[in-house]
Subunit: 331 residues, 2 copies
């Protein structure tokens, strides 16, 4: 490997993957290299799949190979966090850009890619159990990840809140979107102006510890990870039968969002609601769980309450979310 600058065969890739990802783990009875891996059973399994595709979810012009390797896994882990669970393993489908595509990656770049992915996997004690490689027209990563509930055995779902519940968030809203837009406009230079926003977009940190804590608090009635922005994800979370009164003060908006929206003449509050790729956790809890929340998750932010009507309000004004559906065309 040391003398190669390009990976010329499936075997080169497998060697590089073996270098970065241990092929033994207490949860793997049979590791990579057979038709399937065999894993120890779990009482129950939560499972999800995310695709992370060049020029759709990331651009090579401002994502380093390490950023890509990290974020591809991070967004999957975040879905496990949204269930209040702990990830226990993942598999990797990799579309490798061929030499004729503009996206070809050198061996050293692949090394960085796998290094960053394996560092995040190690942080969560996740075995890579297998996967598949295919040449293709662009770089693409399809990860399936699974996990299990924590101590309480509880799984936190959407649409399990009730009128009167307090809505809260763990994590920053709008920050990754400011990073995305700044990177699209300015390229890597954006980091100088909006370091927190750029870092939040390139290197999201899944909130597994927060999710597990939430699942241990009986008064917490549900959670999800906000991946499409609060405006789009809130209705999915509260469900069609409820509404919400949101209260978000300007002081709760992250600094880089304030700066970015000011620099660009945008409404900071609407920008925060719009968000996208926040990977913050949205939760609902009965008011009597607030003390436990303050004790165990002091960094949470209360953003409103669930109401019995289907109406939405923001800081006392009616809120119409239809204008916020920025995903009708894919961005």
């Amino acid at each position: 490997m040391a003398h190669c600058t390009t990976l010329s065969s499936e075997n080169d890739f497998l060697q590089l993957i073996h270098k970065h990802f241990p092929n033994s783990h207490e949860r793997m009875l049979i590791g990579r290299g057979d038709d399937c891996a065999q894993l120890r059973g779990q009482d129950s399994i939560v499972m999800t799949t995310d695709i992370f595709l060049e020029n759709v979810h990331f651009r090579r012009s401002y994502f380093s190979p390490a950023d890509i390797g990290h974020k591809a896994l991070a967004v999957n882990i975040s879905d496990i966090a949204g269930m209040g669970c702990r990830p226990t393993g993942f598999s990797l489908g990799l579309i490798v850009p061929d030499e004729h595509s503009g996206s070809f990656m050198q061996a050293a770049e692949w090394d960085e890619f796998f290094q960053a992915m394996s560092a995040l996997a190690a942080e969560h004690n996740l075995p890579l159990t297998g996967g598949d490689l295919s040449l293709g027209p662009c770089l693409g990563i399809s990860i399936t990840i699974w996990g299990e509930p924590g101590e309480s055995g509880r799984v936190l779902t959407r649409q399990s809140c009730s009128p009167g519940d307090v809505l809260f968030v763990c994590g920053d809203l709008g920050l990754p979107r400011a990073g995305l837009l700044a990177l699209e406009e300015l390229g890597p230079e954006a980091r100088k102006l909006y370091p927190g926003a750029v870092n939040a977009h390139l290197r999201p940190l899944p909130r597994i510890a927060d999710g597990l804590q939430l699942a241990e608090i009986p008064g917490v009635h549900g959670a999800m990870d906000i991946s499409d922005g609060l405006a789009r994800d809130l209705p999915r979370f509260i469900g069609p039968a409820c509404g919400a009164d949101l209260n978000i003060s300007a002081g709760e908006i992250p600094k880089d969002v304030r700066t970015y929206t000011q620099d660009n003449g945008l409404n900071p509050l609407h920008f925060t609601l719009l968000g996208g790729e926040d990977y913050a956790l949205l939760g609902a809890a009965s008011p009597d769980a607030l003390d436990a929340l303050k004790t165990h998750l002091p960094h949470h932010t209360v953003i409103g309450t669930v109401t019995a009507t289907t109406a939405l309000s923001l800081n006392g004004e009616p809120l119409d979310l239809t204008g916020f559906d920025h995903f009708a065309t894919h961005e």
Copy 2:
């Protein structure tokens, strides 16, 4: 949906998926629509991922949408068969060609695609537990599938055979390769000349029942699914410490392979060894298990024996497999 000829949003896709794939199943505690699905636990889990990509694994010019939907899932199920296990669920990562790509699919084509995939899923009682959609430059399917051992609890692996073991195959070797080459040369017309070969390439049938039967026979020492051809997969199966004496008579070569190789001046035996995408099961058993094999899997074909040296022979002649590595460049 009835009035749409194109699927214009993620929601259109989700509706179509819900139409074809039930969202309740005895194994699903939480179905599609949350951050994760939740599945009932299993004593142990076998798991694998396969990518199925346009112009790498299939061409739209001779694969119908239904063929693609079927085969994408079939090749994954086959990996579970190779472990002697039963599939219990799958997730789907789908790269959807955008309107500007030459691969754009109409709503009716997506309907056929999902119809065929759901028919195969139903045949194996498999819930689709979730997945992800992304626009992209070509059609791509990344499936992760999992399963569990059958009655005996046994899982059949590679490299678990011993010298003296009988090598056998369930399924036809070389037939899908004849179909692939004929389709590449002749397009859909190939079906008239080589119907069995074309069908084997477009619509492989995973051999779950065979694999489960094999796992119940104690003298069967291992199995794998032959996806890259016998020449490439045999060394992976017997491992570096053993060799094999193969005996394959011309009479055992499928009719369409004989016709195709005769039409094209090719060596039918070498063509059969080369194969590719056979999705036959390769197994090893102690000689005293042959009676049980004959009883429970009468359609198996004995192809040789495992030897204590690392040498290989075919019908009494030394066999050098290095010339068979047709995958150094991806085809």
